[in-house]
Amino acid sequence: MLQRERAWVPGPAWQAFDASSRGEFAVLLIDEVDKTNPGFDAFLLRLLEDWTFRSPSGDEVKADPSKICVVLTSNGRRALRPEVLRRCQRVHIPLPERERLEQIISQIAGIKIPQKLMDLVIRLGQAISQEDAEAAPSPKEMALCCVDLLALTDTGEHKSEIWRAVAASWLVKGPDGAKVIDKAARYNWAKALKAEAGLETTASGDQNSPYGKGGITLLQQLEEKVAREE
């Protein structure tokens, strides 16, 4: 009996409207709105028309427009209905310029990234995005890729295989990541790292550690950083 009454569960839109109605600031982020069904536009219009959310169970919550900000994001896969567009301020956010991208990556990583490694990772990212813009790695993924590659020492004879796999794990999602990395790099990955990133010269690590001495420190820094952000 109770379960039937609870069949409709309040989602993020209801929660955001409810929070603002209680005087709290709320941001409703509708991410990748271009990937919703076209029917979603009608739902959005009803919401934004009078800032009222009507649940299927008949409940209503009226948002306070002075306490709520609605943010839609789109990669342009589907055009929204003109009525929705008319209610929005459209802001184009381009990819950051090269210099800025480097700053962002450095700041996220929180460690000094050798310029050659930075160049390599950015170039891989660009090559991947040229193949599939949707698959482009974010600055955060590129930063974490740099951090991991720097943390890798003492990888022994499987070095190039491990490096390639680590880079793929951040930059290309999917089972064929390593192959995509090779294709994007358009040359041998191990050779590229050796020649360009200078990772060969990384200090030798602790034999007992899978990451190496320097690696553990960097990983700890990263974990602390993630913990702080959360």
């Binding site: 409703l28 991410d31 990748e32 900000c69 381009p94 700041q107 600055p139």
Partner: protein
């Protein structure tokens, strides 16, 4: 952590100012992945000291929640 260009920062301030006047702040952020669209929304919530409620348009979307 989010790094905004001065143009974006202006849009953020304008949106907040409109919102506080009750004029409504509805933004459509367009652009390629990796430009910081999602982070922009989270930053607004942070600046306001409010909560960001996340609605995933794509059913299988997990990447940007990280």
């Amino acid at each position: 952590m989010y790094f905004m260009s001065s143009v974006l920062l202006s849009f953020l301030k304008l949106a907040v100012a409109r919102m506080l006047r009750g004029l409504g702040a509805i933004l459509l952020l367009e652009g390629p992945p990796g430009g910081g669209k999602t982070s922009f929304a989270k930053e607004i919530a942070k600046q306001l000291g409010g909560t960001c409620f996340y609605y995933a348009g794509a059913p299988d979307k997990e990447r940007d929640r990280r």
